[in-house]
């Protein structure tokens, strides 16, 4: 009885692990896939990445990424493909492209715009003080 139970347990464990295993990937490929999952937005649950999501679309996208990795595509190629299909919004980090310069540099420009008058004000105040 005990042996039967153990056997059953082992078989069950194997089945569970099989159902969780995705396509056959090397450990390195798997790491890359996970990094890409974390970079990819789930479009039906928009503030989540597909890594965090179990939605059907997220599962499809994960499978897509796995297949592309196995077929030898680079991370950038896969990202480009995703952007071509779904638009740039699918990436969690916006690309560093011309259209996004304002997005990337905007905060620094505003910071400078703030610092400059403050600097002038302080200099003026100091001068008055001395």
């Amino acid at each position: 009885m005990k042996i039967k139970c153990t056997a059953l347990f082992i078989i069950f464990t194997i089945f569970v692990s099989v159902s969780f295993a995705d396509l056959n990937m090397t450990a390195e490929q798997n790491d890359r896939a996970i990094e890409l999952y974390k970079e990819t937005r789930c479009l039906v649950c928009q503030s989540q990445t597909i890594y965090d999501s179990n939605s059907e679309l997220a599962t499809d996208l994960k499978l897509f990424i796995q297949e592309e990795i196995i077929s030898g595509k680079s991370d950038d190629e896969i990202k480009t493909q995703l952007v071509n299909n779904y638009g740039e919004w699918i990436l969690m980090t916006p690309t560093f492209s011309k259209a996004n310069y304002i997005l990337w540099f905007g905060p620094f420009i505003f910071l400078l715009l703030g610092i400059f008058p403050m600097y002038k004000y302080i200099i003026k105040k100091n001068n008055r003080g001395s």
Partner: protein, 177 residues
């Protein structure tokens, strides 16, 4: 004195500009993504047909139609049912070829859906696992694309409501037909 006034009002003016700017952004429905395909050629795809498995529905079909509508649907999708009447109407417009992509569906259910509600489509492609429609940027059903001379000109997300048919779809078709 004049200078002093400007100094005090500038922050207020800037704040107002920001409020207006961001409130405009809030009005946009971000859950509906604009398609990457607009103004782009029809993506390359090839899928088996629903009623005739040996033939396929592919890019060539859509490109050779002067004006084409591609509707992504599924029998399990409730909004698709309400949209179906609209599609039946659209299929009657001369000069417009209506194509369907059956998304993640069981064949028998899809056939049942079509036989009960009517078939507005010239061809129906089958995308069993949702992969062939990825090139279309499909992320849910229903979605409808309008294609004119091989270029995607509009994407509608969600079912086409009768109001949207009148206010959006028909004017677009009117412009190109």
């Amino acid at each position: 004195m004049k200078n002093l006034k400007l100094k005090y009002f500038l922050p207020v003016i800037i704040t107002i500009i920001f409020v207006v700017f961001f409130s405009q952004l809030l009005k946009k429905d971000v859950t509906k993504l604009s398609s990457q395909l607009i103004e782009k050629p029809v993506p390359i795809f090839d899928m088996p047909m629903l009623m005739n498995n040996k033939q396929s529905f592919s890019t060539i079909d859509v490109v050779t139609s002067d004006t084409a509508l591609v509707n992504v649907w599924s029998s399990w999708c409730i909004p698709c049912r309400s949209e179906h009447e609209i599609l039946m109407l659209l299929s009657k417009i001369e000069g417009v070829d209506l194509y369907g992509i059956n998304y993640k569906d069981k064949e028998e259910n899809a056939l049942d859906f079509i036989s009960k509600l009517g078939n507005p489509f010239k061809k129906i492609g089958v995308d069993k696992n949702g992969r062939s429609s990825m090139v279309w940027g499909v992320y849910g059903v229903p979605e409808t694309f309008i294609i004119h001379k091989g270029t995607v000109i509009y994407k509608h997300i969600g079912p086409i409501h009768i109001n949207e048919l009148e206010d959006i779809i028909l004017p677009i078709l009117g412009d190109i037909l």
